[in-house]
Amino acid sequence: MIKSSTVNNLSYPDTGVIMRTENITKVFPGTVALNQVNYKIYKGKINVLVGENGAGKSTLMKILVGNEQYTKGRVILEGEDIHVRSPQDASRHGISIIYQELDLCPNMSIAENIFLAREVVHNGIIDKKMQQHLAHGLIQRLEHKINPSTLVGDLRIGAQQIVAIAKALSQNAQILVMDEPTSALNTAEVKVLFRLIYELKSKGITIVYISHKLDEILQIGDCITVLRDGSIVAEEAVKNVDMHWIIEKMIGRKLEALFTHKEHKIGETLFRVEDITLPRVGGGYVVNHASFDLHKGEILGIYGLKGAGRSEMFECLIGANPRATGKIWLGDQDIGGYTTLKRIQAGLVLVPEDRQRDGLVLTLSVAHNMILASLKKYLDRFGLFLVSNKEKKAVNASIKELSIRVADPKNPVVSLSGGNQQKVVVAKGLLTSPKVLMLDEPTRGIDVGAKHEIFEIMEDLAEQGYGVLFVSSELKEILAMSDRILVMSKGTITGEFTREEANEAKLIDALVLGNGLKNKNVNNKQEVK
């Protein structure tokens, strides 16, 4: 644990702190999300908050805007203690948030969205004209021309963001929190947004900007606060820092130490996929005729961005999508027509990207989650009842093997930290005695230490002769871990590289290819091979 006292204080002589938290602690069952956090927001500045997934950024923001209650501590706004119990409370104090997934109703107009739950009424009846007028004024103030009666669902994502900002301004926001505002924007839209943010700043509005796009942070931020494992580890003026500094503070060690790569023997072909295709509703493909093979003891990395069809391809492979076509062999076995259950029995296993949505049954205990996919193994000799001794043996062995930190396997699985939850999902997969392991973003949302452990587990498995297939959108991760790399873009595999020939530039080039013309695509693919 990092003591918060080690943070060197940064002071702005020209400006004060508008809002700060004092020793804020937030405990969820099983985890401490925030540990004695003293967070300062400087008035009229663009305050950047960074941290890895799971570092506690969202929790801290939810507390500031009243969506979550802190367990202990104080929140002080302009010298006064405040208790923000709800988002309404927060907006009364002049604090507004724009969430990553914009909280707008697509079925309603811009004006209706802006005044949702604060409708302008005249004698109890909504004054539509007045709302339209006010909304028009707000949007104009943001230097945009959109008709306020347009349905939000019909707007582009960038324009929707304008609406969200207008909504915040209509509540007289003094502090505007923006949670990953650029994650859905293209470069041009990001430029527009930044101009907007500067304008808001020039009008004296304090911005809290959460992002993990480091280049953006360096461009727009005034001061930066780094969260790690629920504690603030650094606070500095942005002009004094660079990208290395941020990364080092975020992950708490040099990047290189994170990965382990052992040499392991690569054997014969274990898993072969031909022409996996998943048509998109409304034309085109989610997965476009993907073919590849995987060898024994090999770690095959699939690099691509979110929405490139990587997760969908895994779902096709495990048999969870009935519309998928293509051929799949595991060893000599043609498993293309198998159900999910039969594919698992044949030796294929998926560790899904969203462990809480697809990987775990949150109402069940750690032990029950672990053995869920392999229950048949723990039956008595009549094949009828589960034998609790056999279950226990398997569970304890897995806990030891993957060094899962759990006090009692009977505890609910939600009581574990993200990294340990991920290991439970991996354990569940391994208990089915697979030959091929498919890991979809296995390090998403887990802390650095756990990441390192997951990588070690992957290495061990490859060494033991498993075929490991893993998807990641982190370049460094893919380059460090893979024996071979496939690049996937817009549903198509656009490049294949050996460990030796791969580098960042080549992978990104291949990624860009997918966004180009189709025929160009094919040519380049040949070239790459």
């Binding site: 405990v27 969820f28 069952p29 099983g30 401490v32 367990t71 495990i318 969870a320 159900t339 999910t340 259950l341 698992i344 029995q345 998926l350 899904p352 949505r357 697809d358 990987g359 775990l360 049954v361 949150l362 109402t363 069940l364 029950h368 869920l372 996919a373 229950l375 048949k376 039956l379 009828l384 009842f385 589960l386 609790s388 226990k392 009692d408 009581s415 569940k428 089915t432």
Partner: protein
């Protein structure tokens, strides 16, 4: 098992205030039952005599058996509103089989199945109705609420159609047809306990083992907790859901048989609104309507709380209206306590962490 005991004693060795609070909250259904029984025993001296307890258990058995089927459904994050109607339909099927037999005009014969066959045929009909529920829900993706609401009407309609809305009375069979003995199901005792109580115990025991020790039971919990995760783990979700509704249908048919046999008559309105009492027993027993959390034992105790409360209030001479109000308060109160417990667990988790 023995290891479980060992950990329990280990826990007992350092009991804290928190543990006791938790224990009270966890065992609150049982506690409620004890309180209800104590209060009635004090207010009405005859309440605790054996005869009265057996009569009460007989009443409870009906809702406990329905509750067992309903527990499976609710654990899987579903709901079965057709329970009461299937009770009525089953009663009418059984009554009709005994009084009218199976008529095959084209052969000019009437087959009178014996009492055992009647029971088996009726149970099969119940299972079939459940299977239809399950198939409509899984294959045609109809929400369980709607699918079983439809079945509520359909089964009740068939129950009425069976004898044009009339009752099958005096369903004892005739010696010359060899179909006597159906009335024994509702009237006979074994070791001093009515058959219906034994049936409840057997159903409860089997269901307990199915939920705790069979892969099927684990699958029900898993798909109630997270259907996608269960499917990706290789659980055949559609099949499991269908079986769950078949179990509920089987339990409903069993109850239809018991009631018809106890009354020696089958009335088409038998079991009207029983589904609500069954759901109440399940919820009172601590099973979450969201699915994935709960137990058979809780449901049976929940059924006892409701049953003892109803009978006790009758014995004390409360009006039926007042009875309803009290029952309503108890049911909602139970869920309120459920929510409090969730909040407390979070707080306790915090206190534990601070201790570390």
């Amino acid at each position: 098992m023995s290891e479980g005991k060992a950990t329990k004693t280990k826990q007992l060795s350092h009991i804290t205030k928190i543990d006791i609070q938790q224990l009270i909250l966890r065992g609150r259904v049982f506690l409620a039952l004890i309180i209800v029984i104590t209060v009635f025993a004090l207010l009405s001296p005859g309440f605790l005599n054996i005869a009265n307890l057996i009569i009460m258990s007989k009443h409870v058995a009906i809702f406990a058996i329905l509750g067992i089927g309903m527990t499976f459904v609710i654990l899987s994050a579903g709901i079965d509103l057709s329970v009461g109607s299937i009770v009525g339909l089953s009663a009418m099927i059984a009554g009709g089989l005994i009084n009218e037999g199976i008529q095959l005009p084209q052969f000019g014969v009437i087959i009178y199945p014996n009492a055992w066959m009647v029971i088996i045929i009726t149970l099969l009909v119940g299972i079939l109705m459940g299977a239809i529920n399950g198939i409509v829900i899984t294959r045609f993706k109809v929400a369980p609420f709607i699918a079983t609401l439809g079945m509520l009407y359909i089964a009740r309609g068939f129950a009425g159609l069976r004898n044009n809305g009339y009752t099958f009375s005096n369903i004892i069979g005739k010696a010359e047809f060899g179909n006597t003995g159906f009335d024994k199901l509702g009237a006979s005792t074994f070791l001093g306990l009515d058959y219906s109580i034994w049936i409840m115990l057997v159903f409860g025991l089997v269901a307990y083992f199915v939920t705790t020790r069979l892969p099927f039971g684990r699958h029900v919990y898993a798909l109630g907790g997270n259907r996608r995760a269960a499917a990706l783990s290789g659980v055949r979700t559609n099949r499991t859901v269908t079986i769950v509704y078949m179990i509920s249908g089987l339990c409903s048919a069993m109850v239809g048989l018991i009631i018809a046999s106890q009354l020696v008559a089958a009335h088409p309105a038998t079991g009207d609104s029983f589904e609500l009492t069954a759901i109440a027993a399940v919820v009172l027993g601590g099973t979450s309507l969201m699915g994935g959390r709960g137990s058979i034992g809780g449901t049976i105790i929940g059924a006892f709380v409701i049953g003892v409360l109803s009978d006790g209030l009758v014995i004390l001479g409360f009006s039926t209206f007042l009875q309803k109000i009290i029952k309503g308060i108890v049911i909602v109160g139970a869920v309120v306590i459920d929510q409090i417990q969730i909040g407390m667990q979070e707080r306790i988790a915090l206190q534990r962490q601070e201790l570390k």
